[in-house]
Structures are given as C-alpha cells and as structure tokens.
Amino acid sequence: MSEGLLQTPFPERASAALKDTFLQEALTIATTKFIDLRKEAFAGFPAGEALRDRARAIKEATLQHLDVHLERLADNVERLGGTVHWAATGEEAREIVLRLCRDRGVRMAVKSKSMATEEIDLNEALEHAGVTPVETDLGEYIIQLAHEKPSHIIAPAIHKTKGQVAELFSRELGGHFEADPEVLTAVARRVLREKFLQADLGITGANFAVADTGTVVLVTNEGNGRMVTSLPRIHVALMGIEKVIPSMSDLVVFLAILARSATGQKLSSYTTLVRGPRRAGELEGPEEFHLILLDNGRARQIASTLREALYCLRCGACLNVCPVYRQIGGHAYGYTYPGPIGILLTAMLKGNESVRELAHASSLCGACKDVCPVRIDIPRMLVELREHLDREKIAPWTERMVFRAFRRLLLSPAAFRFSARAGRWLQPPFVRAGRLRGLPLVFGSWTRTRDLPPVAARTFREQWKELR
C-alpha cells in the first residue's frame, strides 16, 4: 500500500470513504449481492455444514505437522523437475523472482490474481528491475492501469464504475470505448491475449498445494490462471506456507466450499491442477516451474494467538458481511488484506503495532465467524489483539485509562450503582434525540463517531428491587 495513504490516520481514511457517495453505493450493491449468492449456495447444499467442519479440521491437522507437509510438497515438486525456493521474508521472495528474471532475460511477466504477490509488493519490484508485470485478472488489470490497489479480495475493482473503466481504457489503451461491461471485457480480452502469447514468465499464487502429489491448485473464473500456467516458458508460483494441504481427498473438501463462500458458485469456472513443468510428451506448458514458499511472519503464529488466521482460504466472505467493511470498503484499511480477516493478517505480517487503530475497526458482531468457510473465530482474535495492544502499551494512554476505570466500575457493585445515578444526573445536556452524544473530555473521542444509549430513568437494578 502506498505510504501516502498510511500517513493519514485510520479515522480520517474511514471518514473519507464514508463521504464518497459512489463508493457507498457500490459497496452496498456488491456486498449485498455476494451475501445473497453465498446464502443461496449453502441453502441448497445440506452437506455444506459438515464439510466446513471437516475443512477446518484439515487445516488444524496440517498446521500441526506443517514441517512434514512442506517437506513432502517440496520433495515432490523437485521430483517432478520443478525448483523450490524458501523465502523467509517478502524481500527474499522478491529477490528470488528478480534473480530469475535477470538470469533468464525476462522482459514481461503475466500474472494471475495473487494476494501473496500483492503482499510482497512484487509489481513495484519488477517494474524497478525493468520487467513489465501485467495483471491479467480483469479487476486487477483495471486497478493496475489506474495505479490503484485492490479493494476486495475477490473483486478488486468493485469501487469503480463502468464509466470510470471506459474512460481509463480509452486513455490508457488509445481509442474510444463505450461504458458497457461487454465491450470493455472484449477490449481487455484482445489486449491481454497478446500479452499471454508474448510473455516469458507467468506468475501465479496458489489456492492450495497438495503435498502428497506436488500439485499447485489455482481457482479462477476468467481462465487467466490457465493462460499464465500454459503459455509462457517459465511459471513461478508464490504461496504462503499455510496453503499446503496433505492430499487430493482434502482438496475436494475445500473445493466444495470455497467457490460457494466466495461467489456462490458450486465450483469456479476453472480449477487448475499444476504438477510441475510440462512433461516430455506435451506440446505445451512451461519448461521451467518454480515454487516459492513464503513465510513472512506466518510460522511464528503456528503456536500463537493468530494461529487460526492461517486457516484462511481468501474467499472474501467475511468482508461482505462485515458492517465496517460494508461502510468503508477495502482501501480505508490501508493494507493488502482488508476486512475483518485482513486486520488479523496485517497484524501477522506487519506486527501488532501496525493495527493499533484497525484492531478497533470491528463491532465484534461475529458475522464474519458465521460465514467463514473454516469458521475462523475472528472476533476472539480481535479481542486478544486489543488486549495485547493494551498490555504492551501500544494503545493510546487515554484509551487504556478509560478502560481501566471502566473495569473498576464493573467490578464494584457500589461504584456501579453510584455511577448510574451520577450519570443520570449529569447526562441531560448531552442527550439529543434519545442518544448520548458529544460527551466532554476524553469521552469525546468515543462519542465523536458513535453514540450511546442514555442511562434509563429507572435502572434495571432499581426495577428489580421493586419486583422482588
């Protein structure tokens, strides 16, 4: 994410998003549609709930022996004639790709959508080294032309109108294109088809990697993942280490729930299983296959608080249902991974300090946990993150002080009774339209963007006493 954006504090980024009326409309339409599609998909799929449990169990079991599965995956990929690279950090991963480009004289790389490459800012590094990266997922292509970043994990350009895309294509590609998705898609098809056929290098992420067989699995709808793994002479797949699964029997469990959670499809249009470079008798396929295994902060969470975030399939379902994401969209979060799971992934990759504001960008309503295909307990981890920020004194002192005082209050019945009475007595000047707003002092930073119910005329405790 560009440094510029992160210099503005989160509340300002969020209010800017709230004032963007087009963004508001686009977000509502998109997230509502995704929610409905997902709901419909699981309604007609009674086996789904049990499969979600099983998928979660597979992730747990795999993490528990992650070293074994990674070794097995690496051995199998090497046996197939592929090369395995081990990248402890994003920088190491970038270096591996750049070295490969230098050694092989690569000038242009076609990419299929990959959050892992976004995470390590690979495109900037490639450009810097004189290699042209071309994003080929339509949404990613649009935002690459616009020099922006994805705003949703699976629909990167939902913040753009067809009018904006038409303008962008007309300017960047030369021509005058109608603001019609059919027309614009056809334009992208024509332009990108050329690139697929010219590029020396194809770069992908991985939705899964099957340890038992050395297979990298890509799930796409557009077919760009297939192009990128079939046409260029070199294929590089970059995957987070948590993407490994033991066997093909496990793979089909995930396939059954992934697309349903993401887009409501039973399966995405294409699921592509890549087992190393092309075989001797094949007319097509890359002659070289490289698999980069990326840690970048993941390993240290295996036995730690954010462990469950390593189960994430990147389906985007938790974004769509999140009341915060639905209001502010992906960009306001400021990092590669937006939404509720994004906060946890950001903490994992960039450290807890990086989410001192974002840790609070959740109402803890639990909708994310309900829709997560592997039932990741996001709210619990957010609470633990907040605790950590408090304990490590990363949170602002006013916040820590208020919460400490609040804790005292809740622990002592007498203090609680007294404060209710004091509150009722002091609150009238701040009650507007039945809500507490615009409180003074440190409380003001709470009520600037939120309101509270006022203390009741007769509290529950007072009524209870009479009832007895």
Partner: protein, 243 residues
C-alpha cells in the same frame, strides 16, 4: 539447501509447541485407491443415466450447451452443426487417436481448416506451429476424462496429443464423452484423483488437470456477469450414447 534447512527448522520449533492442542485430522483417504475407484465405476455402470441427467441440468445452469450423438461416428456431424451455426472457419482438436473420431474429413468438406495435435510431436518447430494454430482457431475439440454431475464440470487431463490450450484459446470449446466418464460427486473425484496419483507416470502423460465448469466468466465491472473474458465464450458437451 541452507535456506531450506533453516526455514524448516524454524517451523519445526513452532510446530513442537502445538501437540495436544488440537485433536484434528485430515480427510479420510481410500486405503486402496484402485479398489475404491473400481467400486465407483461399478456403481456408475448402473446409475449413469441419473448422473447424466444431473450433469445436463448443472451444465446448462452454468451456460453450457448439451448435445447427444448416437455414436462416435456421428460426433463430427454434431461438431459440424455447431461450427456452421457460428461461422467457424478453423478448428484445433486433440489427437484423433485419443478422441476416437476424426473431425477433419467432415469439417474440411465444410471449408474449415482442421489442425489435430498428434501424440509424439514435441519438437520446437511443432510447438511453435501448434501455438500459432491454437491461437488462431475458433473452435477446439477435446475429450473428457471425468464429467462431474454434481456441478456440471468437465475434467480434462493434459498430455501427449491432449494440449492444454485446445479447451482455452478458441472462442468455442466442444468436449466429447461417453457414459464411462460420468461421476456423481466431488468426493468421487477425490478418489479418482488419488487413484491417478498412485503411479502418475503411468496414468498421466501431462502435468496439468483442468476442471472446467462452464465458459470463462467475470463480474469485475460493476458485478455484471460477462462471458468469455479470457477463455472460451461457449462450452459444448457432446454425449456419445453408444457404449
């Protein structure tokens, strides 16, 4: 190698802290994949008509076009019909020896150019020629290794005489299969994949398996569903009735 050892050591250290924390297990796997696969085939030999009907419904739901051919000899006629309707002038096909039929006589008579990939061609010149042919072709003809009824999915193994791009580069993809290819569920696909990978050098001549569920699609511009963004705009399945 040092990087690998160090990398794995770091993970091992973390993993060592977890035993007993979670009572989890991976998905159950068939003990003898070949036997499990054989059992499924036996069941499907009885139940294939239901599976076919489900396949047709699901395939049409994802915008696939379903056809029937009496036997393999009738397949070129069906393909000719599809080609004529769309004004197709050029085709690429998998190796006729793999497919079990040859489209060339019927389609060239219609004035179409037909290029068939042949197993055994793999030199650089054939490679380049094939790429140009595939990029220019309007219709691609392939076989099918598994037809998954539950989702209307065509599963294709790449390999000698079975190029990956035949089902990808042309605007129209026509896939041909018989009853023995039908499967009912993803779970069965899992068993078949396990079976294929027991001795992959024997069972597969290629490095890629593609699951194809309808035409290429995107909804990246204002969530408007658009077909044929990179891959085929149309997918046709031709079911061969004769066993």
């Amino acid at each position: 190698m040092a990087a690998r050892a160090e990398f794995l050591e770091r993970i091992r250290r973390e993993v060592a802290k977890t035993p007993g924390l979670f009572g989890a297990c991976a998905a159950p796997r068939p003990a003898v994949p070949a036997a499990a696969a054989e059992a499924i085939r036996r069941e499907l030999a009885e139940r294939w008509p239901e599976a076919l009907e489900r396949f047709r419904q699901e395939f049409e739901r994802v915008a696939g076009v379903f056809h029937r051919a009496r036997d393999l000899d009738a397949v070129p006629d069906v393909i000719a019909g599809i080609a004529r309707e769309r004004g197709v002038r050029s085709l690429v096909t998998w190796d006729p020896a793999t497919l079990g039929f040859d489209t060339a006589p019927r389609l060239t008579a219609l004035g179409c150019s037909v290029v068939a990939a042949r197993a055994g061609q793999e030199d650089e010149a054939s490679r380049l020629r094939h790429r140009a042919d595939a990029a220019g072709a309007q219709l691609g003809v392939t076989g099918v290794d598994f037809a998954l009824a539950e989702t209307g999915t065509l599963i294709l193994l790449s390999g000698a005489g079975r190029p990956r791009s035949t089902s990808l580069l042309p605007d129209v993809h026509v896939a041909v299969f018989g009853r023995e290819r039908l499967l009912e569920s993803l779970e069965q696909v899992g068993v078949m994949l396990e079976d294929l990978h027991v001795d992959p050098d024997r069972t597969m001549s290629g490095a890629m398996i593609n699951f194809i569920t309808g035409p290429s699609r995107t909804a990246d511009i204002e969530l408007t569903l658009t077909r044929g963004v990179h891959g085929p705009k149309e997918v046709h399945a031709v079911f061969v009735e004769a066993p």
